[in-house]
Protein backbone atom coordinates (compact mmCIF):
# COMPACT_ATOMS: atom_id res chain seq x y z
CA UNK A 1 0.00 0.00 0.00
CA UNK A 2 1.16 3.51 -0.81
CA UNK A 3 2.65 5.43 2.09
CA UNK A 4 0.87 8.77 2.63
CA UNK A 5 2.50 9.88 5.87
CA UNK A 6 5.93 9.31 7.33
CA UNK A 7 6.85 10.62 10.78
CA UNK A 8 10.44 10.27 11.92
CA UNK A 9 11.97 10.97 15.34
CA UNK A 10 9.38 13.58 16.19
CA UNK A 11 10.25 15.50 19.34
CA UNK A 12 8.30 18.32 20.93
CA UNK A 13 9.44 20.23 23.96
CA UNK A 14 7.63 23.05 25.71
CA UNK A 15 10.00 25.13 27.85
CA UNK A 16 12.31 22.19 28.45
CA UNK A 17 9.50 19.68 29.10
CA UNK A 18 9.41 16.88 26.53
CA UNK A 19 5.85 16.00 25.49
CA UNK A 20 6.72 13.94 22.41
CA UNK A 21 9.86 11.89 22.35
CA UNK A 22 11.23 10.24 19.23
CA UNK A 23 7.87 9.37 17.63
CA UNK A 24 8.18 7.47 14.34
CA UNK A 25 5.43 5.79 12.34
CA UNK A 26 3.96 5.53 8.84
CA UNK A 27 0.43 5.69 7.52
CA UNK A 28 -0.72 4.00 4.32
CA UNK A 29 -3.54 4.80 1.93
CA UNK A 30 -6.81 3.25 3.12
CA UNK A 31 -5.43 2.53 6.58
CA UNK A 32 -7.27 3.33 9.82
CA UNK A 33 -4.76 4.25 12.51
CA UNK A 34 -5.96 4.64 16.09
CA UNK A 35 -3.96 6.61 18.64
CA UNK A 36 -4.68 5.82 22.25
CA UNK A 37 -3.11 6.79 25.52
CA UNK A 38 -3.93 8.21 28.92
CA UNK A 39 -4.54 11.96 29.40
CA UNK A 40 -1.32 13.88 28.84
CA UNK A 41 0.22 11.09 26.74
CA UNK A 42 0.75 13.49 23.83
CA UNK A 43 -2.09 12.43 21.50
CA UNK A 44 -3.42 15.95 20.89
CA UNK A 45 0.07 17.44 20.58
CA UNK A 46 0.89 14.78 17.99
CA UNK A 47 -2.27 15.63 16.01
CA UNK A 48 -1.49 19.35 16.29
CA UNK A 49 2.03 18.70 14.96
CA UNK A 50 0.57 16.74 12.03
CA UNK A 51 -1.77 19.65 11.26
CA UNK A 52 1.03 22.19 11.44
CA UNK A 53 -0.57 24.00 14.38
CA UNK A 54 2.43 23.17 16.55
CA UNK A 55 5.98 23.30 15.24
CA UNK A 56 8.03 20.23 16.22
CA UNK A 57 11.28 20.79 18.11
CA UNK A 58 12.98 18.05 16.08
CA UNK A 59 12.12 15.38 13.56
CA UNK A 60 10.40 15.17 10.24
CA UNK A 61 6.78 14.95 9.07
CA UNK A 62 6.26 14.09 5.40
CA UNK A 63 2.84 13.80 3.79
CA UNK A 64 2.73 12.35 0.26
CA UNK A 65 6.53 12.63 0.22
CA UNK A 66 6.36 16.39 0.94
CA UNK A 67 7.87 18.02 4.00
CA UNK A 68 5.15 19.63 6.15
CA UNK A 69 7.52 22.39 7.23
CA UNK A 70 7.92 23.66 3.67
CA UNK A 71 4.73 22.50 1.88
CA UNK A 72 2.11 23.12 4.57
CA UNK A 73 -0.60 24.73 2.41
CA UNK A 74 -0.20 22.19 -0.39
CA UNK A 75 -0.47 19.32 2.10
CA UNK A 76 -3.42 20.79 4.04
CA UNK A 77 -5.43 20.94 0.80
CA UNK A 78 -5.30 17.12 0.74
CA UNK A 79 -6.10 16.58 4.45
CA UNK A 80 -8.94 17.52 6.70
CA UNK A 81 -9.71 17.52 10.36
CA UNK A 82 -12.65 17.20 12.73
CA UNK A 83 -12.78 17.35 16.48
CA UNK A 84 -15.49 17.31 19.04
CA UNK A 85 -13.72 20.25 20.69
CA UNK A 86 -13.59 22.53 17.65
CA UNK A 87 -16.83 24.13 16.52
CA UNK A 88 -18.28 25.86 13.51
CA UNK A 89 -19.86 29.32 13.53
CA UNK A 90 -23.28 28.88 15.16
CA UNK A 91 -24.88 31.90 13.49
CA UNK A 92 -24.32 30.49 10.02
CA UNK A 93 -26.67 27.92 8.51
CA UNK A 94 -25.52 24.35 7.94
CA UNK A 95 -25.16 25.00 4.19
CA UNK A 96 -23.36 28.35 4.68
CA UNK A 97 -20.74 26.69 6.86
CA UNK A 98 -20.03 24.16 4.13
CA UNK A 99 -19.93 26.89 1.46
CA UNK A 100 -17.34 28.82 3.49
CA UNK A 101 -15.14 25.76 3.96
CA UNK A 102 -15.62 24.77 0.33
CA UNK A 103 -14.15 28.14 -0.63
CA UNK A 104 -11.32 27.89 1.91
CA UNK A 105 -10.40 24.45 0.55
CA UNK A 106 -10.68 25.61 -3.07
CA UNK A 107 -13.45 23.04 -3.84
CA UNK A 108 -15.17 23.20 -7.24
CA UNK A 109 -18.99 22.75 -7.49
CA UNK A 110 -19.24 23.39 -3.76
CA UNK A 111 -23.04 23.39 -3.60
CA UNK A 112 -23.47 19.97 -5.18
CA UNK A 113 -20.61 18.55 -3.09
CA UNK A 114 -22.16 19.98 0.10
CA UNK A 115 -25.59 18.64 -0.85
CA UNK A 116 -24.19 15.14 -1.45
CA UNK A 117 -22.38 15.15 1.91
CA UNK A 118 -25.37 16.47 3.83
CA UNK A 119 -27.55 13.74 2.31
CA UNK A 120 -24.93 11.11 3.11
CA UNK A 121 -24.72 12.28 6.72
CA UNK A 122 -28.48 12.65 7.16
CA UNK A 123 -28.43 16.43 7.52
CA UNK A 124 -29.99 17.58 4.27
CA UNK A 125 -33.32 18.39 5.95
CA UNK A 126 -31.43 20.82 8.19
CA UNK A 127 -29.39 22.60 5.51
CA UNK A 128 -31.24 25.90 5.96
CA UNK A 129 -31.18 25.72 9.77
CA UNK A 130 -28.80 27.82 11.81
CA UNK A 131 -26.00 25.66 13.17
CA UNK A 132 -26.94 26.66 16.73
CA UNK A 133 -30.15 24.63 16.38
CA UNK A 134 -28.29 21.34 15.83
CA UNK A 135 -28.01 18.70 18.53
CA UNK A 136 -24.51 17.56 19.53
CA UNK A 137 -24.82 14.49 17.28
CA UNK A 138 -25.91 16.62 14.32
CA UNK A 139 -23.13 19.10 15.06
CA UNK A 140 -20.54 16.32 14.96
CA UNK A 141 -21.97 15.09 11.64
CA UNK A 142 -21.73 18.64 10.29
CA UNK A 143 -18.09 18.78 11.45
CA UNK A 144 -17.59 15.52 9.54
CA UNK A 145 -19.25 17.01 6.45
CA UNK A 146 -16.85 19.96 6.73
CA UNK A 147 -13.97 17.48 7.12
CA UNK A 148 -15.01 15.67 3.92
CA UNK A 149 -15.78 18.79 1.85
CA UNK A 150 -12.45 18.63 -0.02
CA UNK A 151 -12.60 14.85 -0.53
CA UNK A 152 -9.45 14.48 1.60
CA UNK A 153 -6.91 11.69 1.23
CA UNK A 154 -6.17 11.75 4.96
CA UNK A 155 -8.64 12.51 7.71
CA UNK A 156 -7.53 13.43 11.22
CA UNK A 157 -10.19 12.93 13.86
CA UNK A 158 -9.72 14.04 17.45
CA UNK A 159 -12.18 12.20 19.71
CA UNK A 160 -15.09 12.61 17.28
CA UNK A 161 -17.48 10.55 19.38
CA UNK A 162 -16.68 12.12 22.76
CA UNK A 163 -19.82 13.40 24.45
CA UNK A 164 -22.23 11.60 22.09
CA UNK A 165 -24.83 9.15 23.32
CA UNK A 166 -24.03 5.48 22.48
CA UNK A 167 -26.49 5.33 19.59
CA UNK A 168 -25.19 8.51 17.97
CA UNK A 169 -21.56 7.51 18.62
CA UNK A 170 -22.23 4.21 16.84
CA UNK A 171 -23.87 6.04 13.93
CA UNK A 172 -20.88 8.37 13.59
CA UNK A 173 -18.46 5.41 13.75
CA UNK A 174 -20.37 3.58 10.98
CA UNK A 175 -20.45 6.68 8.80
CA UNK A 176 -16.71 7.19 9.16
CA UNK A 177 -15.90 3.54 8.53
CA UNK A 178 -18.18 3.23 5.48
CA UNK A 179 -16.86 6.42 3.93
CA UNK A 180 -13.28 5.37 4.66
CA UNK A 181 -13.73 2.00 2.96
CA UNK A 182 -15.56 3.47 0.01
CA UNK A 183 -13.01 6.21 -0.68
CA UNK A 184 -9.84 4.43 0.40
CA UNK A 185 -9.25 7.20 2.92
CA UNK A 186 -6.40 7.08 5.41
CA UNK A 187 -7.63 8.00 8.89
CA UNK A 188 -5.85 8.96 12.09
CA UNK A 189 -8.26 8.74 14.99
CA UNK A 190 -7.80 9.53 18.68
CA UNK A 191 -10.24 8.31 21.28
CA UNK A 192 -10.50 7.23 24.89
CA UNK A 193 -13.08 4.65 23.86
CA UNK A 194 -11.00 1.50 23.42
CA UNK A 195 -13.99 -0.51 22.23
CA UNK A 196 -14.37 1.75 19.21
CA UNK A 197 -10.62 1.76 18.63
CA UNK A 198 -10.59 -2.02 18.46
CA UNK A 199 -13.63 -2.01 16.22
CA UNK A 200 -12.35 0.59 13.74
CA UNK A 201 -8.57 0.48 13.67
CA UNK A 202 -6.36 -1.53 11.35
CA UNK A 203 -3.46 -0.53 13.56
CA UNK A 204 -3.14 1.12 16.96
CA UNK A 205 -0.41 3.25 18.50
CA UNK A 206 -0.36 3.38 22.30
CA UNK A 207 1.26 6.57 23.55
CA UNK A 208 2.51 7.04 27.08
CA UNK A 209 4.42 10.10 28.35
CA UNK A 210 5.16 11.15 24.78
CA UNK A 211 6.61 7.80 23.67
CA UNK A 212 5.21 4.96 21.61
CA UNK A 213 4.67 2.14 24.07
CA UNK A 214 3.18 -0.36 21.64
CA UNK A 215 2.15 -0.40 18.00
CA UNK A 216 0.36 -2.89 15.79
CA UNK A 217 -3.00 -4.30 14.72
CA UNK A 218 -5.35 -4.77 17.75
CA UNK A 219 -5.30 -8.58 17.47
CA UNK A 220 -1.49 -8.65 17.35
CA UNK A 221 -1.30 -6.40 20.42
CA UNK A 222 -3.79 -8.64 22.23
CA UNK A 223 -1.60 -11.69 21.50
CA UNK A 224 1.58 -9.90 22.50
CA UNK A 225 0.20 -8.81 25.86
CA UNK A 226 -1.83 -12.00 26.40
CA UNK A 227 -4.93 -9.82 26.59
CA UNK A 228 -8.57 -10.40 25.75
CA UNK A 229 -9.14 -6.98 24.28
CA UNK A 230 -7.56 -3.58 23.68
CA UNK A 231 -8.60 -2.32 27.10
CA UNK A 232 -6.58 -5.08 28.74
CA UNK A 233 -3.66 -4.32 26.41
CA UNK A 234 -3.88 -0.69 27.51
CA UNK A 235 -3.68 -1.47 31.22
CA UNK A 236 -1.01 -4.17 30.86
CA UNK A 237 1.19 -2.01 28.67
CA UNK A 238 0.90 0.93 31.07
CA UNK A 239 1.62 -1.31 34.06
CA UNK A 240 4.65 -2.73 32.24
CA UNK A 241 5.91 0.76 31.40
CA UNK A 242 5.44 2.03 34.93
CA UNK A 243 7.00 -1.13 36.37
CA UNK A 244 10.01 -0.64 34.15
Amino acid sequence: MEEVLRVRNLVKEFEGKRVLSGISFNLHRGEFLGIIGPNGAGKTTLLNCLLGLVTPSQGEIRFFGLDLATHRTEILARLNFASNYVGLPLSLTVMENLLVYGLLYGVRNIKSRAERLLKLLGLWEMHREKTRHLSSGQMMRLCLAKALINDPEILLLDEPTAGLDPEMAERVRRLIKEYQKERGLAVIFTSHNLYEMEDLSDRVILLHEGRILAEGPPEVLCRRFGAEDLEEVFFRALAEAEGA
Binding site: V54, F81, V86, P89, S91, L104
Partner: protein
Protein backbone atom coordinates in the same frame (compact mmCIF):
# COMPACT_ATOMS: atom_id res chain seq x y z
CA UNK B 1 0.29 34.18 -5.13
CA UNK B 2 -2.81 34.70 -2.95
CA UNK B 3 -5.79 32.69 -4.25
CA UNK B 4 -9.00 34.74 -4.59
CA UNK B 5 -11.36 31.82 -3.73
CA UNK B 6 -9.75 31.35 -0.35
CA UNK B 7 -9.85 35.07 0.37
CA UNK B 8 -13.51 34.98 -0.66
CA UNK B 9 -14.06 32.18 1.88
CA UNK B 10 -12.90 34.47 4.70
CA UNK B 11 -15.12 37.27 3.39
CA UNK B 12 -18.14 34.97 2.88
CA UNK B 13 -17.91 33.73 6.47
CA UNK B 14 -18.30 37.32 7.75
CA UNK B 15 -20.96 38.28 5.20
CA UNK B 16 -23.10 35.28 6.19
CA UNK B 17 -22.61 36.19 9.84
CA UNK B 18 -23.68 39.81 9.38
CA UNK B 19 -26.60 38.90 7.15
CA UNK B 20 -28.08 36.91 10.00
CA UNK B 21 -27.13 39.05 12.98
CA UNK B 22 -29.30 42.08 13.74
CA UNK B 23 -27.10 43.09 16.69
CA UNK B 24 -23.96 43.14 14.54
CA UNK B 25 -25.71 45.09 11.81
CA UNK B 26 -26.98 47.59 14.37
CA UNK B 27 -23.48 47.95 15.77
CA UNK B 28 -22.23 48.72 12.28
CA UNK B 29 -24.59 51.70 11.93
CA UNK B 30 -25.47 52.67 15.50
CA UNK B 31 -22.19 54.17 16.76
CA UNK B 32 -21.33 56.15 13.61
CA UNK B 33 -24.88 57.58 13.65
CA UNK B 34 -24.82 58.41 17.36
CA UNK B 35 -21.36 59.98 17.19
CA UNK B 36 -22.34 62.07 14.22
CA UNK B 37 -25.58 63.30 15.79
CA UNK B 38 -24.07 64.06 19.20
CA UNK B 39 -20.89 65.79 18.08
CA UNK B 40 -22.53 67.32 15.02
CA UNK B 41 -25.09 69.30 16.99
CA UNK B 42 -22.48 70.32 19.55
CA UNK B 43 -20.20 71.69 16.84
CA UNK B 44 -23.13 73.45 15.21
CA UNK B 45 -23.85 75.13 18.54
CA UNK B 46 -20.19 76.13 18.97
CA UNK B 47 -19.91 77.46 15.42
CA UNK B 48 -23.15 79.40 15.25
CA UNK B 49 -23.92 79.98 18.90
CA UNK B 50 -21.63 80.48 21.85
CA UNK B 51 -18.16 80.79 20.34
CA UNK B 52 -18.67 81.79 16.68
CA UNK B 53 -15.88 79.52 15.50
CA UNK B 54 -15.65 79.75 11.71
CA UNK B 55 -15.47 76.46 9.78
CA UNK B 56 -15.73 74.58 13.05
CA UNK B 57 -18.34 72.19 11.65
CA UNK B 58 -16.07 71.37 8.70
CA UNK B 59 -13.04 70.76 10.90
CA UNK B 60 -14.83 68.77 13.50
CA UNK B 61 -17.18 66.69 11.39
CA UNK B 62 -14.51 66.05 8.76
CA UNK B 63 -12.19 64.87 11.53
CA UNK B 64 -14.92 62.77 13.13
CA UNK B 65 -15.75 60.96 9.90
CA UNK B 66 -12.08 60.35 9.10
CA UNK B 67 -11.46 59.16 12.67
CA UNK B 68 -14.22 56.61 12.24
CA UNK B 69 -12.46 55.30 9.11
CA UNK B 70 -9.31 54.67 11.16
CA UNK B 71 -11.18 53.28 14.16
CA UNK B 72 -13.48 51.03 12.12
CA UNK B 73 -10.78 49.67 9.82
CA UNK B 74 -8.70 48.37 12.73
CA UNK B 75 -11.79 47.18 14.61
CA UNK B 76 -13.08 45.27 11.57
CA UNK B 77 -9.75 43.43 11.17
CA UNK B 78 -9.43 42.55 14.87
CA UNK B 79 -13.08 41.69 15.53
CA UNK B 80 -13.38 39.51 12.42
CA UNK B 81 -10.45 37.49 13.77
CA UNK B 82 -12.07 37.41 17.22
CA UNK B 83 -15.32 36.11 15.70
CA UNK B 84 -13.42 32.95 14.74
CA UNK B 85 -12.18 32.60 18.31
CA UNK B 86 -15.59 33.25 19.88
CA UNK B 87 -17.20 30.58 17.68
CA UNK B 88 -14.43 28.03 18.49
CA UNK B 89 -13.76 27.99 14.75
CA UNK B 90 -10.20 29.32 14.63
CA UNK B 91 -8.52 25.90 14.51
CA UNK B 92 -10.69 24.85 11.56
CA UNK B 93 -9.61 28.00 9.70
CA UNK B 94 -5.93 27.60 10.58
CA UNK B 95 -5.81 23.98 9.39
CA UNK B 96 -7.46 24.92 6.09
CA UNK B 97 -5.03 25.39 3.18
CA UNK B 98 -5.09 29.16 3.49
CA UNK B 99 -1.94 31.16 4.04
CA UNK B 100 -1.72 33.81 6.73
CA UNK B 101 -1.45 36.42 3.97
CA UNK B 102 -4.69 35.19 2.32
CA UNK B 103 -6.46 35.21 5.67
CA UNK B 104 -5.30 38.77 6.38
CA UNK B 105 -6.30 39.89 2.89
CA UNK B 106 -9.77 38.49 3.62
CA UNK B 107 -9.93 40.55 6.82
CA UNK B 108 -8.80 43.64 4.90
CA UNK B 109 -11.61 43.17 2.34
CA UNK B 110 -14.13 42.84 5.18
CA UNK B 111 -12.81 46.04 6.74
CA UNK B 112 -13.24 47.85 3.40
CA UNK B 113 -16.89 46.78 3.28
CA UNK B 114 -17.58 47.74 6.89
CA UNK B 115 -15.75 51.07 6.63
CA UNK B 116 -17.52 51.80 3.35
CA UNK B 117 -20.91 51.36 5.04
CA UNK B 118 -19.98 53.51 8.05
CA UNK B 119 -18.48 56.19 5.78
CA UNK B 120 -21.60 56.18 3.61
CA UNK B 121 -23.99 56.65 6.48
CA UNK B 122 -21.88 59.35 8.20
CA UNK B 123 -21.37 61.32 5.01
CA UNK B 124 -25.07 61.18 4.17
CA UNK B 125 -26.17 62.23 7.66
CA UNK B 126 -23.66 65.08 7.80
CA UNK B 127 -25.06 66.45 4.51
CA UNK B 128 -28.65 66.03 5.68
CA UNK B 129 -28.28 67.49 9.17
CA UNK B 130 -25.40 69.96 8.90
CA UNK B 131 -24.98 70.68 5.20
CA UNK B 132 -21.40 69.45 5.41
CA UNK B 133 -20.23 67.27 2.54
CA UNK B 134 -16.82 65.68 3.10
CA UNK B 135 -16.76 64.53 -0.52
CA UNK B 136 -16.32 68.20 -1.49
CA UNK B 137 -12.68 67.82 -0.47
CA UNK B 138 -12.40 66.16 -3.86
CA UNK B 139 -9.72 63.78 -5.05
CA UNK B 140 -7.44 64.54 -2.09
CA UNK B 141 -9.91 62.63 0.10
CA UNK B 142 -8.78 59.40 -1.52
CA UNK B 143 -5.14 59.40 -0.29
CA UNK B 144 -6.30 60.66 3.12
CA UNK B 145 -8.71 57.73 3.45
CA UNK B 146 -6.21 55.17 2.11
CA UNK B 147 -3.67 56.30 4.69
CA UNK B 148 -6.16 55.93 7.53
CA UNK B 149 -7.21 52.48 6.31
CA UNK B 150 -3.59 51.37 6.13
CA UNK B 151 -2.86 52.55 9.67
CA UNK B 152 -6.04 50.80 10.89
CA UNK B 153 -4.92 47.55 9.29
CA UNK B 154 -1.44 47.85 10.81
CA UNK B 155 -2.96 48.34 14.28
CA UNK B 156 -5.34 45.41 13.64
CA UNK B 157 -2.40 43.17 12.70
CA UNK B 158 -0.59 44.12 15.91
CA UNK B 159 -3.74 43.32 17.91
CA UNK B 160 -4.00 39.87 16.27
CA UNK B 161 -0.31 39.33 17.02
CA UNK B 162 -0.94 40.06 20.71
CA UNK B 163 -3.91 37.65 20.70
CA UNK B 164 -1.73 34.88 19.20
CA UNK B 165 0.80 35.52 21.94
CA UNK B 166 -1.40 36.12 24.98
CA UNK B 167 -4.66 34.45 23.95
CA UNK B 168 -8.12 35.85 24.42
CA UNK B 169 -6.90 37.95 27.39
CA UNK B 170 -5.55 40.36 24.79
CA UNK B 171 -8.88 40.86 23.01
CA UNK B 172 -9.48 44.12 24.88
CA UNK B 173 -6.76 45.62 22.66
CA UNK B 174 -9.20 45.44 19.72
CA UNK B 175 -11.09 48.32 21.34
CA UNK B 176 -8.28 49.96 23.34
CA UNK B 177 -5.09 50.07 21.27
CA UNK B 178 -6.45 52.58 18.76
CA UNK B 179 -7.10 55.13 21.50
CA UNK B 180 -3.36 55.45 22.11
CA UNK B 181 -3.38 57.11 18.69
CA UNK B 182 -6.30 59.44 19.38
CA UNK B 183 -4.44 62.18 21.29
CA UNK B 184 -1.28 61.76 19.19
CA UNK B 185 -3.14 61.94 15.89
CA UNK B 186 -4.34 65.48 16.57
CA UNK B 187 -7.75 64.53 15.26
CA UNK B 188 -9.77 67.46 16.61
CA UNK B 189 -6.98 70.04 17.13
CA UNK B 190 -3.77 70.97 15.30
CA UNK B 191 -0.45 69.36 16.25
CA UNK B 192 0.85 72.78 17.30
CA UNK B 193 -1.32 72.78 20.46
CA UNK B 194 0.46 69.68 21.79
CA UNK B 195 3.26 70.12 24.35
CA UNK B 196 6.67 70.49 22.73
CA UNK B 197 7.90 67.11 23.98
CA UNK B 198 4.84 65.34 22.54
CA UNK B 199 4.99 66.88 19.05
CA UNK B 200 7.73 64.58 17.68
CA UNK B 201 5.72 61.53 18.76
CA UNK B 202 2.64 62.96 17.10
CA UNK B 203 4.49 63.62 13.85
CA UNK B 204 5.63 60.00 13.84
CA UNK B 205 2.02 58.83 13.48
CA UNK B 206 0.67 58.71 9.90
CA UNK B 207 -2.75 59.79 11.15
CA UNK B 208 -1.45 63.15 12.49
CA UNK B 209 -0.34 63.99 8.94
CA UNK B 210 -3.72 62.93 7.56
CA UNK B 211 -5.63 65.22 9.94
CA UNK B 212 -3.17 68.08 9.45
CA UNK B 213 -3.59 67.54 5.71
CA UNK B 214 -7.38 67.62 5.99
CA UNK B 215 -7.26 70.95 7.85
CA UNK B 216 -4.86 72.36 5.26
CA UNK B 217 -7.27 71.48 2.45
CA UNK B 218 -10.24 73.00 4.30
CA UNK B 219 -8.48 76.24 5.33
CA UNK B 220 -6.21 76.92 2.36
CA UNK B 221 -7.70 74.77 -0.35
CA UNK B 222 -4.20 73.54 -1.27
CA UNK B 223 -3.03 69.97 -1.69
CA UNK B 224 -1.14 68.87 1.43
CA UNK B 225 1.65 67.10 -0.49
CA UNK B 226 4.13 67.10 2.35
CA UNK B 227 1.65 65.57 4.79
CA UNK B 228 0.44 62.98 2.26
CA UNK B 229 3.99 61.93 1.46
CA UNK B 230 4.96 61.62 5.12
CA UNK B 231 1.76 59.73 5.98
CA UNK B 232 2.38 57.30 3.09
CA UNK B 233 6.01 56.67 4.09
CA UNK B 234 5.15 56.24 7.74
CA UNK B 235 2.34 53.83 6.81
CA UNK B 236 4.77 51.68 4.85
CA UNK B 237 6.85 51.41 8.01
CA UNK B 238 3.79 50.78 10.26
CA UNK B 239 2.35 48.11 7.94
CA UNK B 240 5.71 46.36 7.58
CA UNK B 241 6.25 46.39 11.33
CA UNK B 242 2.65 45.32 12.03
CA UNK B 243 2.90 42.37 9.64
CA UNK B 244 6.34 41.38 10.90
CA UNK B 245 5.07 41.50 14.50
CA UNK B 246 2.01 39.39 13.66
CA UNK B 247 4.05 36.77 11.77
CA UNK B 248 6.58 36.59 14.59
CA UNK B 249 3.85 36.08 17.20
CA UNK B 250 2.14 33.47 15.01
CA UNK B 251 5.39 31.53 14.70
CA UNK B 252 6.00 31.88 18.43
CA UNK B 253 2.45 30.62 19.17
CA UNK B 254 3.02 27.59 16.89
CA UNK B 255 6.35 26.87 18.55
CA UNK B 256 4.89 27.13 22.06
CA UNK B 257 1.68 25.23 21.26
CA UNK B 258 -0.45 28.26 22.10
CA UNK B 259 -2.79 28.22 19.08
CA UNK B 260 -4.98 25.27 20.16
CA UNK B 261 -5.38 26.98 23.56
CA UNK B 262 -6.63 30.32 22.20
CA UNK B 263 -10.20 30.77 23.34
CA UNK B 264 -10.01 28.18 26.11
Amino acid sequence: MPRPRRILGVVARQMFLYRRSVSRLLDLFYWPTMDLLLWGFLTLYLERGALHLPRFVSFFLGALILWHILYRSQLAVSVSFLEDIWSRNLLNVLVAPITLTEYLLGLVVISLIKVGLAFGIMTTLSVLFYGFNLLKLGAVLFPLVVNLLALGWAIGFVTIGFIFRFGQEAEILAWALIFVFLPLSAVFYPVEVLPVWLKPFSLLTPSAHVFEGMREVITRGTLPWKHLLLAGLLNLVYLSLGLAFLKRQYQYARRMGLIPKIGE
